[in-house]
């Protein structure tokens, strides 16, 4: 076949809905010029369960298990966002021990979520080894969760008024052992990836997200910090007891996939630091305050946001004084972060599109709700 016979028109292809590198059920309609991506249109909604509508028909305490299903990789953080908002709405004071336990669990879950991201991201790039290492450490965290609340994925741990269960006796020694080895494990990941020429080639300069684009698309979390914006809700609008802990906000410089990778790896270290401070300062006393199932917050509304592993997660709850919310809007990070993919993903090879999608750390149940 001669060169003249080759087809040169743009080609339209469907990536997904069932595709391993879309991390869930997402369809990307892509216009290709040879191997180069010229146009991307994401199609979402395959996992839409209308959780916001369900919320209008559940009592406030009954809704906690649904929040687990919004972000199954970081259920503790999803629980946390909801209970903080509901407590702010009803002015519920919770015991200090519960606040500490919440922070420990939320930060451990942030580590677990970043490890899942690291594992799947490297698999997307064709490296299998880091996947096994990352899941080894995640397993330790899941064991800690399992011994506390009996679940390994959807915890239903935090309740309005505190946490569901106290930690068992064997929790603390196991956590301390984990915290002792974990920094060296992060060094292992860095040895494998950070200066690996293949990894650098696949991520440096790929999917550059300029600061201005991140602002106007309301990108949040590590993807925003990768672009050099020092913004973390734990510092900017401290909720729970985050103002008591000492930690840094890692940021990137270029805003490419490598910066987003580096920021997340740094965050692993920072989260471990917070967990260590929290377990050292863990006070005794009650771990929950009794809130009845037919709990009625006063009439009014509240908007409360927290820093989840993927970025800003917020609840806007409107109460009409009955035991069920009048309206509940759930703002999730992936919903906004996915919107920049059509902007930063074009003019790259299709293999790089997979890397960019992975580096944004999108989770689809969070987009669709």
């Amino acid at each position: 076949m001669s060169v003249k016979q080759l087809r040169t028109e743009e080609m339209l292809i469907n990536m997904g809905p069932q595709h391993p590198s879309t991390h869930g059920v997402c369809k990307l309609v892509i216009k290709m010029d040879g191997e180069e991506v010229k146009y991307i249109q994401p199609h979402v909604g395959f996992l839409h369960r209308s959780i916001e509508k369900i919320a209008e028909n559940r009592n406030y305490p009954q809704f906690v298990p649904y929040t687990d299903r919004i972000d199954y990789c970081a259920s503790m953080n999803a629980n946390h966002a909801y209970v903080v908002a509901a407590e702010k709405l009803g002015d519920v004071e919770i015991p200090e021990r519960a606040e500490y336990l919440r922070v420990i669990m939320a930060e451990l879950n942030r580590i677990a979520s970043h490890l899942v991201w690291l594992a799947t991201f490297t698999i997307d790039l064709g490296a299998v080894t880091p996947f096994l290492y990352a899941f080894r450490e995640r397993e330790d965290i899941l064991d800690l969760f399992e011994m506390t609340c009996g679940q390994r994925l959807t915890y239903n741990y935090m309740t309005i008024g505190g946490v569901g269960w106290d930690i068992p006796k064997e929790f603390e020694p196991k956590l301390r052992q984990f915290l002792k080895i974990f920094p060296s494990r992060i060094d292992d990941y860095e040895d494998l990836l950070t200066n690996n020429p293949i990894f650098l080639h696949r991520t440096k300069g790929v999917g550059v997200l300029p600061k201005e684009t991140a602002y106007e698309y309301s990108v949040s979390g590590p993807s925003l910090r990768g672009s050099g914006v020092k913004w973390d809700i734990r510092k900017a609008e401290p909720y729970s007891i985050y103002d008591k802990f000492d930690f840094d906000i890692p940021i990137g410089t270029e805003g490419d996939a490598w910066d987003r990778y580096k920021v997340r790896l740094q965050e692993l270290r920072e989260s471990a630091k917070i967990v260590e401070q929290a377990i050292d300062g863990l006070p005794g006393g009650d771990f929950k305050k009794k809130v009845p199932l037919t709990w009625k917050p006063p009439e009014g509304e509240v908007f409360c946001r927290i820093e989840a592993p993927r970025g800003e997660m917020a609840y806007h709850i409107i109460s009409d004084g009955t035991p069920k919310p009048y309206r509940m809007k759930i703002r999730t990070a992936s919903f906004c972060n996915l919107q920049v993919l059509p902007i930063i993903g074009v003019n790259h090879m299709i293999a790089d599109l997979v890397a960019i999608f992975g580096s944004l750390d999108i989770i689809l149940p969070e987009v669709d709700r």
């Binding site: 509508k53 559940r58 602002y215 309301s218 806007h316 409107i318 703002r331 906004c336």
Partner: protein, 162 residues
């Protein structure tokens, strides 16, 4: 700017565009005239004293029984100045009416998806919207607007009150 001074600043600078403003749980909330909705948002974004260049949350609420319409509520904030405020506007609508309002996509592109969701779930029309397709629901969905109060679809069962 702290919340108190932000409330005062917006009330003074943009008094002809807002109906009222108050402090709700430490955050300034303003009721905006629907016809000034887009222009006020644009001004708050470009004003060097507010710099509201990001959207934290954007939602619609069905208040047809209480206030006779739908409310759009947007929470905007500034990364640089670390402050946020909430704007609300009431779109009058009765029963099955579909209210209309100019799109905010020209101010913050992130609102494109939020508005697609409001359009299909609440039945609000956004004029000049760049991408008016369904976001969550099927393209051929014809069972009404699910997030409206009192909607009952084919499979949707409301739990009886105890």
């Amino acid at each position: 700017m702290d919340s108190e001074s932000l409330l005062k600043y917006v009330q003074e600078e943009y008094s002809e565009r807002i109906i009222g403003g108050e402090m709700v749980k430490g955050v300034p909330v303003f009721e905006v005239k629907p016809e000034k909705w887009v222009s006020l948002c644009g001004m708050l974004r470009d004003d060097s004293d507010t710099m509201m260049h990001s959207v934290s949350n954007y939602t619609a609420v069905d208040y047809r029984e209480k206030h006779g319409g739908f409310k759009l509520v947007i929470t905007i904030f500034s990364h640089i100045l670390n402050h946020r405020l909430t704007l609300e506007t009431l779109l009058p609508a009765k029963d099955d009416e579909i209210p209309e309002i100019e799109t905010l996509a020209t101010v913050w592109p992130t609102t494109i998806w939020f508005e697609r969701e409001h359009a299909e779930l609440f039945g609000i029309e956004f004029i000049n919207h760049p991408d008016p397709r369904h976001l969550m629901l099927d393209d051929d969905w014809d069972e009404g607007y699910p997030m409206r109060r009192g909607w009952t679809g084919t499979d949707f069962v409301v739990k009886p009150d105890k």
